[in-house]
Amino acid sequence: MDATSHRFRDNARHALANGRLKESLASFTKTFPEKRQKVIDRLPEFDALRDEGVRIKNHVLANLDFYLERFEAKATAAGAQIHWCRDAAEARETVLSICRAAGARTVTKSKSMIGEEIAINEFLESNGVRPVETDLGEYIIQVRGESPSHILVPAIHLKGPDIAQTFREKHTALPPGRALDEPEAILREARTVLRGEFLAADVGLTGANMLVAETGSIVVVTNEGNADLVMSLPKVHVAVASLEKVVPTLEDAATILRLLARSATGQDITAYTTFATGPKRPGDPDGPDEFHIVLLDNGRTAMLGGEFRDMLRCIRCGACLNHCPVYAGIGGHAYGWVYSGPMGSVLTPSLLGAHQADDLPNASTFCGKCEQVCPMRIPLPTMMRHLRERQFTTGGPAAKGRGALKVWAFFARRPALYRRATALAIGALAFLGGGRGRFRRLPLTSAWTGPRDLPAPQGRTFQALWAERRRRKP
């Protein structure tokens, strides 16, 4: 997708004005944290498991070349073909050439953030290969020509009637008078339509939640079972994964699986967890003839050597989004790229470059909730603060506050002048604020007063009140 992260302010303003989106987000940011808390209460070892997860990931990141080579050797021995790709363009070309070699016209896809990151759908389409999303939410937004607004619930911004309308426009071969009022009916229709696509596809494209160095397996989790049909019906399977997904052993994968679904959807485990190792074996009645794994860098090695290495522990559970007050207010689209919420605020500038996403690290209240819930204990607020500091020195939006700070510093160094100036200003503001005690609008501060009121001062400065209090106390 084309990134619009640099237009965060406009995007967020639009989102704030969208009542229906607000409603969906409100129910969602309430439900998910509740469900998460419930399953975690059933697992007293959860925090200890988080520590284990952090340890595993840190160890892998410190020795990433070793585990990648081991993974490659095992996967190759099992018959998989490994393709190393430096960036999104290389990955797109690789996937396309695999599709061409297979003579593919239709590619079924299971939800993959990496697929979004490299914008594979647009690319395949413009090259005559038709990608079909099979995750229900992804399919809905694909036929609407939209992008996901949440990494787990891509169509969270839509209501049943929106989806029914879209299906009527898209599935024109079905009787126009059919009932689509119930979510169940929408689901049945999607299942039927997609069944045909699953069977017709020549290539299946998935991401991978993990890569296991011990066995050369990829791990894919879903609740719908779509990834398993994508992986077992077409004659070619392509998995696209970024480098940091590798874990040493099956035991390590088990530890991380105990964290993933609980943090993500508040389930103990997703309905389907699949370990896929190489293509179809001799005698196997089903499975793909070819199995390709694309190992993608696209900015990871740069992060590995920099101050945002910890971000590479991210398992894309979405807990930080689900608990974020800013995300709850504006939703995922406002962030303008694949990754939204706190993890997006750190990932997007790291992967696209800071100039592409100036405002994202500022879209935070620094409440700290994201770090509290992150299963991988990623210090998201600290990272956002670092990004802000970096902006301040390079003249990003955080630097715009600098002028105002200079004025303040001038007065602050001259206490007598400061007292007189503030007393004067506050008196004036109290007078202007009048009986309402609030300002709806103030010159030069529209960014603040646009969405909210500014309380008018009550007429005295803090210093004046303090001095009076000192006088009254003996």
Partner: protein, 228 residues
């Protein structure tokens, strides 16, 4: 330089120089771990006596919207399948895993049974799990010549045979069984499917719906003995 070399040298640069950092020690430790697999922390709910694990397995799989029936032995499978299909008014046409060919289907039971991988319109799939994991009520189904994967995903109804004796506590226990059976060789089949309850989605207004692409129903037949 190839992309592979480029990426690996960038990783080495970023992590402080590869071999210089004692990769050989890391390699040795890793090989030792592979030779003698060690688990990380296993939660209490993944441990217990066989009786406790059986109770937990049933409770957890039911919590994930699966149903469970106890069957005395392999010869009890046909009647249990017939009961389930009748109780829910489901089609009496079953595609079974070839691994279940020894199950005797009596004449006159009124169920058409054949064997092999599933087709798009197979209504009921019957397959067998090698373990059940108590900590989350998870079934373990490896692929193989006699156990087609598509049986687990294409049919609307999925019935799985599991021996009570194959119930283990944790994910780690399930992997140990694979390793024991392979006796040091490569033990991963093309795919290992962990299945916990039927297919589901909350993509439409966060309403939980079952049977999106995979089965709408998951029914587990727990075999208490080798045969009745």
């Amino acid at each position: 330089m190839s992309a592979r070399d480029d990426i690996l040298s960038a990783v080495r640069l970023a992590t402080g120089g590869g071999a210089a950092l004692g990769r050989s020690a890391v390699a040795r430790a890793f090989d030792e771990r592979l030779a003698k697999p060690t688990a990380n922390l296993i939660p209490e709910r993944g441990k217990g006596t066989p009786a406790e694990l059986l109770v937990r397995f049933i409770a957890e799989s039911e919590a994930a919207a699966a149903t469970v029936a106890r069957v005395a032995g392999r010869s009890g499978i046909p009647a249990a399948v017939a009961d389930y299909l009748a109780a829910h008014g489901l089609p009496r046409r079953v595609r079974a895993a070839p691994a279940l060919k020894d199950v005797p289907w009596p004449e006159g039971i009124g169920i058409a049974v054949d064997y092999g991988k599933a087709d798009a319109d197979t209504p009921v799939g019957l397959s067998c799990a090698v373990s059940g994991i108590a900590e989350t009520g998870t079934l373990v189904l490896p692929s193989g010549p006699a156990t087609p994967t598509t049986l687990n995903y294409l049919p609307d109804v999925h019935i799985v045979v599991l021996e009570t004796a194959s119930i283990v506590g944790s994910y780690e226990d399930a992997w140990s069984r694979f390793r024991e059976e392979a006796a040091g060789g490569d033990f991963m089949p093309r795919t290992v499917n962990w299945i916990t309850g039927p297919s589901r989605s909350a993509d439409i207004e966060l309403i939980l719906l079952l049977g999106v692409h995979g089965p709408r129903r998951l029914h587990i037949l727990l075999l208490d003995g080798q045969d009745a």
